[in-house]
């Protein structure tokens, strides 16, 4: 019996039992669609995260008292014991790092800004060196000028504000040259930063930059600063980090055996963390999928056994007309593969729907540009795996059908 004929017969039997076929392949459908949807969504998030990380600047890194992400209470206690990083460290690093194009620093706190009776709360107040806007993601201005070295040296009462402050405090009034009240201190606005929108619903434009010297005058110098550096080139990225590390170890008099008592963070360390997290998601997905495919396979096997039993007489007739064992075996195997392949196909369609729907929901909920692409390899894998499930599940029922004695089968009513 040629394959085309077997497939024709299989499709016919699928058509005859539409509802039964659909219910049979539900397990496979769920397994396949969950794996594709999860892959699509994680990939979408992957792309989104790496975009964001790239925006941080691939040649830049930060020297901080502690890492961005602390994973245990013990680690946190350890971090609390560390010495803070100060402006003196900035000078030392700047001198030591010959492979750094720029070395700057920032330190921030939360506060509120006022103009007349209008209050804008939860503003990020950031003290910076004048070069910060050139390190990592370059921040352009919509209006006015950046802070300059003179502002830093004189600890001037000037600032560059984000668009949220302009909108909140000035409305349509031109903010340039106007003074606002930041936690009780007058700051004159010299520039407005170009708006950047929100990441995960968090506005990127709700801040005011003031000279780092001014910051320390107003808020004290007990906060640890974050030193930010940009390597001269991608090739010198590691060298630049090593120079900074060495300079800091010398300053702290760390002997060879001691660990760093500071942290150097790069875009890569965020990516690493993210990838560790997604690996976990993948493992869970694979387990869930394996279970649903196993159950799906058992259901397919069960329904194939029912199908063989229902069609014993048909098998007898086919044998009487000259069907060999192999013909019958192939017929039922193909039917089983077509059945579960059909489940896989529905699963792919379901997954495309889920990925599209979730993608746009996530996108609009978090007001970000997000898409969950359904990858051809995931589709191919899903269809392949579901076909293999069909093959394995169909093996026993099909061999039972093939082994039937024609006389017995014909006598069956």
């Amino acid at each position: 019996m040629p394959f085309t004929e077997a497939i024709r017969t299989a499709l016919q039997s699928l058509r005859t039992n539409k509802l039964r076929s659909f219910l049979t392949v539900l397990g496979i459908l769920i397994g396949v669609s969950s794996v594709i949807a999860v892959v699509a969504i994680t990939e979408g998030l992957d792309a989104y995260i790496s975009n964001q990380v790239l925006a941080l600047g691939s040649r830049s890194f930060r020297l901080q008292k502690q890492p961005d992400i602390i994973t245990s209470h013990e680690e946190w206690k350890e971090m609390m014991k560390r010495k803070r990083i100060e402006l003196d460290d900035l000078e030392a690093v700047r001198k030591a790092c010959t492979q750094c194009a720029e070395v700057g620093a920032s330190v921030g706190t939360g506060g509120s800004a006022k103009r007349g009776r209008t209050i804008h709360k939860d503003v990020r107040i950031i003290g910076i060196t004048e070069n910060i806007s050139r390190i990592g993601a370059v921040r352009e201005l919509a209006q006015g000028r950046h802070l300059v070295q003179q502002d830093i040296d004189q600890a001037g009462r000037v600032g560059v504000v984000g668009m949220d402050l302009v909108d909140g405090l000035f409305g349509s009034v031109d903010p340039m040259g106007k003074e606002i009240d930041v936690d009780g201190n007058k700051i004159r606005i010299v520039g407005v930063a170009e708006p950047k929108g929100a990441i995960f619903g968090q506005s990127q434009d709700n801040f005011i930059w003031i000279p780092i010297t001014t910051f320390q005058k107003l808020y004290g110098s007990r906060r640890s600063i974050s030193i930010q550096a940009e390597a001269v080139s991608m090739e010198r990225f590691e060298d630049a980090q090593d120079q900074v590390r060495l300079a800091m170890r010398n300053r702290r008099h760390l002997t060879y055996l001691k660990d760093d008592d500071f942290s150097i963070e790069t875009g890569e360390s965020i990516m690493d963390l993210w990838q560790t997290a997604t690996r976990g998601i993948y493992v869970v997905t694979i387990v869930v999928t394996a279970i649903s495919l196993l159950i799906g396979g058992i259901v397919v096997m069960n329904i194939m056994l029912v199908s063989v039993t229902e069609r014993i007489q048909e098998i007898g007739v086919r044998k009487a007309l000259g069907a060999r064992r192999g013909d019958i075996l192939r017929q039922f195997l193909v039917e089983s593969v077509v059945l579960s392949g059909f489940g896989g196909l529905l699963g792919v369609l379901g997954a495309a729907g889920i990925a599209l729907g979730l993608g746009s929901v996530i996108g609009s909920m978090m007001s970000l540009d997000f898409s969950a692409p359904v990858r051809p390899w995931a589709v191919g894998l899903a269809l392949g795996v579901s076909s293999v499930v069909g093959l394995v599940a169909g093996l026993y029922p099909a061999s039972r059908a093939a082994a039937l004695d024609p006389v017995e089968a014909l006598r069956n009513e």
Binding site: M1, P2, T4, E5, Q12, S13, T16, Q313, E314, G316, V317, R318, K319, A320, L321, G322, A323, R324, R325, G326, D327, P406, V407, L410
Partner: protein, 238 residues
């Protein structure tokens, strides 16, 4: 009306020698056939008669190559069937035997054309040729205008004619009919028997298993089976 295949084979179509068929039911042995010997020549029209339990069905299964004898030799057109394995038997059934069953045994979901195509499918004949041959076979039984009908859209007589077309489409050595009129009313049954008469005239070898005297009378030779043995083997000169 088609004629049987031109055949260079000269011996008897069927040469059965001392056929025994024994079933084991637990510890007991049941002898369904106890030494049956007969020959059937090309172009003969033979009725096999006998009460139920006589071994008539067992003999039909052996003649139809659905089963092999416990002992004895069964030679079909010069080939020793009694020593064949399952797949060789399937190939023999496909090429040499055309079955017509009491309950028609058509595939309910397939069209008349596809039902007739089935033996050709298992013979590995390409699709275009299959359709052509199946259509010709259906025209031969006057169902050329019913090719796309499913069995449940056809009358009992039409269904049995589809079955006859299916039996003949491979141009087999023998047409083996098991109570072909058993599920038909008298008039329709007579139509089918008339069709068999025409096939006999065209040179086909027909073996008819029945318990009805009237039906058996269409054949020129009647073999009576009783208790697993041939009770009588009569030829009528007509």
């Amino acid at each position: 009306m088609s004629t049987a295949a031109p055949d260079t084979f000269n011996g008897p179509i069927i040469d059965a020698e001392d056929l025994w068929r024994t079933y084991e039911m637990g510890a007991e042995e049941i002898h369904a056939l106890r030494g049956v010997t007969f020959k059937i020549d090309k172009g003969e029209y033979v009725a096999v008669m006998g009460p139920s339990g006589s071994g008539k069905s067992t003999l039909m299964n052996l003649i139809g190559c659905l089963d092999t004898p416990t002992s004895g030799t069964y030679v079909l057109r010069g080939k020793v069937v009694s020593e064949m394995d399952d797949d060789e038997l399937a190939a023999i059934r496909n090429r040499e035997i055309g079955f017509v069953f009491q309950t028609f045994n058509l595939l309910p979901r397939a069209s008349a054309l596809h039902n007739v195509e089935l033996p050709l499918v298992y013979a590995g004949i390409p699709r275009d040729e299959r359709i052509e041959k199946a259509r010709q076979a259906l025209e031969m039984v006057d169902l050329g205008d019913r090719v796309t009908h499913k069995p449940n859209e056809l009358s009992g007589g039409q269904r049995q004619r589809v079955a006859v077309a299916r039996a003949l489409v491979m141009n087999p050595s023998i047409l083996l009919a098991d109570e072909p009129t058993g599920n038909l009313d008298t008039a329709t049954g007579q139509d089918i028997m008339a069709l068999f008469d025409r096939l006999k005239e065209a040179g086909h070898t027909i073996i008819l298993v029945t318990h009805e005297r009237e039906i058996a009378d269409h054949a020129q030779r009647t073999i009576h089976i009783r208790d697993g043995q041939i009770e009588s083997d009569e030829r009528r000169t007509s």
